[in-house]
Each structure stands twice: as structure tokens, then as C-alpha cells.
């Protein structure tokens, strides 16, 4: 679990967040996401450059910054020997809530993160997903102005990940401003209003999920051919037509031809007309936007992280 050792430099990363916004910081391992979060949460002092949170400078006014933020990390920072409730109450006290406030707030949060039934068990008996939820809960003991979630679902299985997403969405609905880092495109797509893709400490793309997808010009047209023997012939026709923005790709197993198009519906009509004129029967067509995966691959030349599951 060591990911320091080489500290990733941020290369002139310029980043701004609006109130109430969910910003997704997306990038592969070692892209500088955690470094960015550590600087903004005052855990790491920047060697150059400045950063402010809610108007407070992270170096000069670090204490005030800490009064504005909540942080839940990649490695669930909860105490294993204490119970879930004790963890939350302690954090509440350290946020300088009174004893009674800490108690009642801890109870509310345990309910919200659906841990109320395991509240008094030591955390060491919790599953990976329960620990993450508790970690998230700890960052909410004091309603933060800005919440930072550093890879909140890395290593979780798909079901637990979806539960976690729901918990995060519930919080966002309460109006918290959230910065989320992730290496999963799906997660950014699912949760973030705005996505910043970073790689090697520098910004490589920014926008809403749709805007980013639009950066890959055009759509993807998929045509499934009914009779397999017509497949190559159909591909040839599309190539000869010359009006599409990529060479057709043939998938023999699925009997499908995939081609990038610029004019969307118009190109779809052209393609279908070509098939019809040559008496090639079409089983199914699909016109879709490229996925964020495609954007990522296009911009970085790297395949995005695959979902890995933690044995726990």
C-alpha cells in the first residue's frame, strides 16, 4: 500500500471549483490526483504556487482551511480498535462539537451510512465497504463547506461501489461542494458535474462528461449484418463510399461493422441506403456517443484502469 516514494509534481495545474459543484479529478495511478488533494487539504505544503479553499490560503491560513473541509481518503483512515460510533464521536469532538452534539450527530450519520446496526462493534470486524462508509461518515461529522474524496471506491467490489455512490449522491443532494478523485471513468461519469482529466500532474482535458465525449469528433455507428456471408461485402461498400471518418472495423463474431461518423443521422441513412441497394439485410443498427474510455485513450494513449476487486 505504498504510493508515496515518488512524489508526483503538479505541473501548473490550474483548478477552480464553484460552490455546490461536484468536480471529478480523473487520471491514472500516479497522475497527481492525491498530490492535488493533499495540497488542498493542507496535508502537503506546495513547494511553489498557491491554492485557496473558500478564500483561505492553504499555507498561510491552513487552520481556517481545515475548518472548511472534510476529507475521506483512499485508505480508510478509521481506527480499527474503536467501534464505529467511537470513531465518529471522537472526530466530532475534534471538530469541537460538544459531547452531546457529537453523540447525536454520530447517531444520525451512522443511520445515513447504514452502519447503525454495527455501530458498537470494533471497526476491525467491518468489511472493506463498511470501513469506507465510516471514513466518509467521519468527514461529515461537521458539515464541511468542501468535501474531498480521494479515490473513494478504489478496490471495492461492484456492488459495494454502487452503495458508496449512492451514499455520495445523498450527500451531494444536501448541497455539499465535492471534489472527487478517481481512476474510474465510470465513476466520474456517474458522479461528477465537471471532469478534469489529469495525467503526469498536468491538465489534459476539462468539461462535463458530454463535452469530453464530444471532443472525440462524431459518433460511432454500428451495423449488425443478418447474413454472415455478406459481412465483408458490406464493409467494402462502406469503405468505397469514402464518406465516413474512419475505416470500418469488422467484428466477425458479432457480425457487426463499426465505423466512426461525423454527420450522425445523415451518415446512418447513407449507410443503410448502401446496404439496401446491394440487398444486404441489416439486423440492427446503433448510433452512439464514444465512451469516456475512448476519450481517455485518445488523449493519453493509455487504457484506463480496469475495475479491480479487493479480497476482503
Amino acid at each position: 500500500m505504498v504510493d508515496f516514494g515518488e512524489t508526483v509534481a503538479l505541473d501548473g495545474l490550474n483548478l477552480q471549483m464553484k460552490e455546490g459543484e461536484v468536480l471529478g479529478l480523473l487520471g491514472p495511478n500516479g497522475a497527481g490526483k492525491t498530490t492535488a488533494v493533499n495540497v488542498l487539504t493542507t496535508l502537503l505544503r506546495p513547494t511553489s504556487g498557491t491554492a485557496t479553499v473558500n478564500g483561505y490560503d492553504v499555507v498561510e491560513q491552513s487552520h481556517q482551511v481545515r475548518e472548511q473541509i472534510g476529507l475521506a481518503g483512499q485508505f480508510a483512515a478509521v481506527d480499527e480498535t474503536l467501534s464505529g460510533r467511537q470513531n465518529l464521536e471522537m472526530v466530532g469532538r475534534l471538530y469541537h462539537l460538544s459531547k452531546a452534539e457529537s453523540k447525536s450527530r454520530a447517531k444520525d450519520i451512522l443511520q445515513q451510512i447504514t452502519l447503525i446496526e454495527s455501530a458498537d462493534r470494533p471497526v476491525r470486524t467491518y468489511s472493506g465497504g463498511m470501513r469506507r462508509r465510516l471514513d466518509l461518515g467521519a468527514s461529515l461529522m461537521f458539515t464541511p463547506k468542501v468535501l474531498f474524496l480521494d479515490e473513494p471506491t478504489t478496490g471495492l467490489d461492484p456492488k459495494t461501489r454502487r452503495d458508496m455512490w449512492q451514499a455520495i449522491r445523498d450527500m451531494v443532494d444536501q448541497g455539499v461542494t465535492l471534489m472527487l478523485t478517481t481512476q474510474y471513468l465510470e465513476e466520474a461519469d456517474e458522479l461528477a458535474d465537471r471532469i478534469m482529466m489529469i495525467d503526469e500532474g498536468a491538465l489534459i482535458a476539462e468539461g462535463t462528461s458530454d463535452e469530453l465525449k464530444r471532443q472525440l469528433r462524431g459518433d460511432i455507428l454500428e451495423i449488425e449484418i443478418k447474413d454472415k456471408s455478406n459481412l465483408d461485402n458490406a464493409a467494402k461498400l462502406l469503405t468505397e463510399a469514402g464518406s465516413f471518418s474512419s475505416e470500418p472495423e469488422v467484428d466477425q463474431a458479432l457480425q457487426t461493422i463499426r465505423v466512426a461518423v461525423e454527420a450522425g443521422i445523415k451518415d446512418l441513412q447513407v449507410a443503410l441506403k448502401l446496404m439496401e441497394d446491394s440487398n444486404i439485410q441489416v439486423q440492427h443498427v446503433n448510433l452512439s456517443q464514444p465512451s469516456l474510455d475512448d476519450v481517455f485513450l485518445e488523449l493519453t494513449g493509455k487504457k484506463p484502469a480496469k475495475v479491480e476487486v479487493e479480497d476482503d
Binding site: 508515496f4 485508505f75 474503536l82
Partner: protein, 258 residues
Amino acid sequence: MINALKWTLLDTLTVTKRNLIKYTRSPQLVIFATIQPVMFLLLFNYVFGGAIRLPEGIDNYIIFLLPGIIVQTVLFGSTQGVIAMNDDVNKGIIDRFRSLPMSRMAVVFARVLADSVRNAFVIFLMVVVGIMLGFEFVNGVGNGMIALLVALLFSFTFSWISVCIGLFAKDAETAQSAGFIWVFPLAFASSIFVPVDTMPSWLQGFAENQPVSLASDVVRGFAVTGETGDLVPLLLWLAGIVVVFMMLAVRLYNNSSR
């Protein structure tokens, strides 16, 4: 200013409470704090008791041994804080604390405070077992209590060194060995187990003046012999160590990040 002081105090107590709960729930630490020191006391008393030439006026080895072994036990006990501190760094607990708007001194103070509470309990236990083995406060019970306070102050001081090692060590293995190794020469080249004048002369200079010997002499002085002349040099040592390592600990805490 007053407010900052108040929150430093309250935050320290909150984290101390958490540290103490951890100690009570962690069996190996309880064993370290109870069975091991008692075992040492019994072994040294019965194994070495017959072989060691006692200073004049002390006719029972347990009376010589107990004050020294209390100092030895709290010295080794204070190194337990290295592992606890390092564990908090590696598990991200320190990052959590550092992202909270709490006092920047509370976490290290709480570590030292919790370890001192634990050591106070160990001192009490050792005295009870010692009395069962024939120990008595020859110099009077009042001075005996001063002796125990000096031992506690000594443990408080050395805990600061442990906190620094725990914050500085890169991983648990390093913390484990680095936290422990420097204690051995201090503990054994000292007046804890044997009178210093039985050692070779080249070693005596070190053994007489190092803080562990001074602590053991002063504790023994208040509890047994009445010779407490080393109190001032001891307090100077302890004050120096506390000032240096307290500042270092706060610095390391503020700059630590996984």
C-alpha cells in the same frame, strides 16, 4: 490565546482517551505492560540476587533492584509508543487528524500522556510485586512517593524520543527495531542492575553520567539510600531532552504525510 490553550488541552484529552481505549483492547500491549515487567523483576531478583555485590547498607537485593528495574521498565515501556505512533502514521489516522481543525500539538501530547498513564500503572504494579518480594521504602514512604514521581517524569521524557522515532520511521519494521535498539546500551551500561563501580573503568565515565543511571540513582536515593545529589543533573538532562524532542515531534507531525 486562552482559547487556543483550552482547545489544545481538550483535543489532547480526546486523543489520549482514544489511545488508552486502544491500549486496553490490545492484548499484547497489556501483556507487555504487566507480565513482562513482573517476569523481569522475578528473574533478576532470583537469578542475580545472590551474585551481585551490594553497596554498603543494603542487605537485600530486591531493595537495590526495585528502583532500578522500575526505571528500566518505564524506559522499555516508553518505546511501546514508537509502534503505536508509527501505526497511526501508516494507517492514515495521522492524515485524518491533520485534516481536522484541531490543535497541531494535541496528537503528540496525547501519545506521551497515554504512555505516561500506562507507565504509571506499571510502576504501581511493580511496587506491589516488589513489596511482596520484601522491598520496603527504607527512606520513608513520603520520599518513596517522590521517587515514583521521578520515575514517571523520566518515562514522560523518554516518551518524547519514542514519538519522534514513530513519526520518522518509514514503516513498522523500522519503527520496531529503531524504537528499541538505542535503549539497550542505556539500560545495561547503567546503575540499574549493578553498582557502576563494578564495571571496567572506561565504561564508568559513561555509565555514571548518562540519564538512565542518574534516574536510577535518584529514584533509588529517594526510595532507599537517601542520596539524592544527582537530582539536579538529572532534571537538567530531562529538561533538555523534553525541549529538543518535543519541538522535533511537533515539527515531524506537522510535516508528516504518507
